[in-house]
Symmetry: C2
Subunit: 246 residues, 2 copies
């Protein structure tokens, strides 16, 4: 393996920065881990000892790499990271999906991955152009939850739809006429996909013709909700509805 | 007014960075605005024209202040800001509250303010030590929603409680035995306060003895939910329960 570069979307590997995300990577996707990086200042701490023990058990190399860690994390302090091979996995067709259409903020994408896993939705599609799911900021915001998810990036919504034509679509749109509680009061099929648009522009208007558009019943005193907040409310409401636990 | 400094919690004024937050400040709290700052590069744009017209109507001074805007926003581009006097207002005792105990991240606090307003909870308490509600990062994440809220910062939870002894408390805790849907299936009094803890450490254990502790029923595959996500789910669920709209 060549010397480690600052993260770039061109690379075939990425970084899980921080003890918790690095440990999640080791525990859930040991097949992907190439090595573990540790800062010299962290040596001997409890968190470092646990990470090193786990790496050793999995026969993953640990190296002291202060400068590489600085390159990866830019401004933030970062005392450990896992280097892992990027992955792309087919979503399961028999499971519910979360679909993020053109999200632009890494923090939002990471937070949505964490929320999605927390409520048991393990299949997430990203539609390009979109924030990089493997950017260290995304991985950090996800707290490593992407290592327990199936994640696939598509060039277009049509490409996603071609692979999964039978999921009932629920596009979340500000101007939709049916509110989330109303939609949930009706029948929800076993296979559903919640679709969320870009932070600034939302979903294209054409999505109003797909499936059952949904509106979160916030008032008009805010322009909109933050994307990761809207997605969390949708995911929570769909998975925790009576009889909806998955 | 002396020349504008980079933001500091010591100042008695603060900045609402960005066209949207600056406009929210002008529209909802003209009494607080001291002046509007505009970047020379933004002059003549539609957003700048609208902001200037509104400021003029309200007799607020607009100045071209490229360097001050750079000082305020640090790394991010910022083409407009409102300078406003900080405020501290008593919460209404007859309304529901959101209480943030020791939140440390400005982005989370701002996002929670935005969500809270979006679902009609207009009274928010912050318990010190806590992220600065007037930090430009908080104001930006709130999208200016703080200008439509009553916001008070307390030195301790006891100080909050002394002012509002009758609100039914709902502390959100990971190890609480009653899940959110269970709690909502029961009766909720008219005056309630949702209490959320710090990002890393949550609420102190002693809060388990207050009111009705609540657990958000996420699974154990994530360590916890992001604070702004947990708060959003709580606020949504309390305000949108059947008969719960406020």
């Amino acid at each position: 393996m060549p010397s480690l570069e600052a993260y770039s979307s061109r690379l075939d590997y990425a970084y899980a920065p921080g003890f918790f995300p690095a440990m999640e990577c080791l525990l859930h996707r040991p097949d992907l881990v190439r090595r573990v990086l540790l800062h010299s200042k962290a040596e001997g701490t409890e968190a470092a000892d646990r990470l090193c023990e786990t790496a050793e058990r999995l026969r993953v190399r640990v190296e002291i790499a202060d400068r590489a860690l600085q390159r990866i994390s830019q401004k933030e302090n970062c005392f450990a990271a896992a280097v892992f091979a990027k992955f792309d996995e087919p979503l399961r067709d028999d499971k519910p999906h979360v679909v993020l259409h053109n999200p632009s903020d890494c923090g939002n994408v990471g937070t949505i991955l964490r929320t999605s896993l927390g409520f048991g939705v393990e299949d997430v599609a990203l539609i390009r152009p979109c924030a990089d799911a493997f950017d260290p900021r995304t991985v950090r915001a996800s707290m490593g939850s992407l290592f327990q998810l199936r994640l696939r990036v598509y060039d277009s919504f049509e490409a996603y739809r071609a692979e999964h034509p039978d999921h009932m679509l629920y596009p979340f749109m500000l101007d939709s006429s049916r509110s989330l509680p109303d939609v949930l009061a009706g029948a929800i099929p076993e296979r559903w996909a919640l679709v969320f648009g870009n932070e600034g522009s939302g979903l294209p208007k054409s999505f109003a013709g797909l499936g059952q558009p949904v509106r979160i019943p916030s008032n008009d005193r805010v322009d909109s909700l933050n994307l990761s907040i809207a997605a969390a409310i949708g995911i929570y409401a769909f998975t925790q509805r009576p009889g909806g636990c998955i």
